[in-house]
Symmetry: C2
DNA sequence: GTCGCTGCAAAGTCTTTGCAGAGAG
DNA sequence: CTCTCTGCAAAGACTTTGCAGCGAC
């Protein structure tokens, strides 16, 4: 794949995302602040699934003079989750982790030894899920699937 | 199906479960107490997915003179979860819910309006999950899948 | 200028822990 | 008898909230 194209795609995607966010804010008479942008941007930049705390730490590192409070992280994550711009994932005692929902839909394979999360999608499963919801009379809004196990790395240790 | 057989099946199942629990305790030099039995038995009896708090309330109602403390509920649930006798399910801000793992494996369809949980199993999905784990080099230990939506009841309101 | 937003610290909630007496093995 | 359990209350961890000043619009 051509690198320039790839870069452009990524840029366009973030611009798009940021724009969606601004529209969302305006629609609800909310304000676009530097803290909110930084949170969205950091979620976008990071490939990790972040806890409120790790997101906070990351933002403090990247923008030390902004001095963002943890309360703002919580408030913004709630806002983003309510608006379906981010989704959260919680498992075990490791707490709640957040990721941008704007990325393509995918499921998660979680290593219970090291905590690593691998993403995947399977069309067959997606199709069955829709069918099952229909059969049970549910109006399906969303779904999540996690497979737990030991990753290749940890198996070798 | 014959009712007597059904009753026997259920009885045997619980006896079996209780026995597994006793073996587990003995193996770890832990003691079999009335509180632990009551917790296991209440989990078995209840068809619901219980939070520590609702389990506690239920036990207080069923055995008022036992005066079981919430700390014991937490301690026993952790013990049971570590030993894979119960599994937990967490979603949204509604906290963590527990269910006996001894029941047959199944996935969950969750109504985000009323919180109702419906169980289901789909062989095709089960099979694909194993295949995917294998392809990604994971040694699969467990998995969970949730479909979120609106149940028939809530759609009609 | 107005009104929502932010950081701070205090307050909540949920869960875990220390302890002294009770109870299982 | 010994050593684990239990209930209680205190401590912790995580999250939310009230407030006064700040900043977007």
């Amino acid at each position: 794949m051509d690198i320039t194209t790839d870069f452009n795609d990524r840029t366009v995607q973030y611009t798009q995302l940021l724009n969606d966010f601004k529209v969302l804010l305006k629609k609800n008479s909310l304000k676009f602040t530097i803290q909110r942008e930084v949170i969205l941007e950091t979620l976008y930049t990071s490939d990790e699934h972040l806890t409120p705390e790790s997101l906070h730490r990351l933002i403090q590192e990247r923008f030390p003079n902004l001095n963002t409070g943890i309360a703002t992280i919580y408030r913004t994550l709630s806002l983003l989750e309510e608006s379906d711009m981010v989704t959260s994932l919680s498992f075990g005692s490791q707490g709640k982790k957040y990721e941008l929902g704007a990325k393509n839909h995918h499921d998660h394979m979680i290593c219970t030894t090291c905590g690593e999360i691998t993403e995947f999608v399977d069309e067959q499963i997606e199709a069955r899920q829709h069918k099952i919801a229909q059969e049970l009379g549910f109006k399906m809004a969303d779904h999540s699937m996690q497979i737990y196990g030991t990753c290749q790395n940890c198996q070798n240790k």
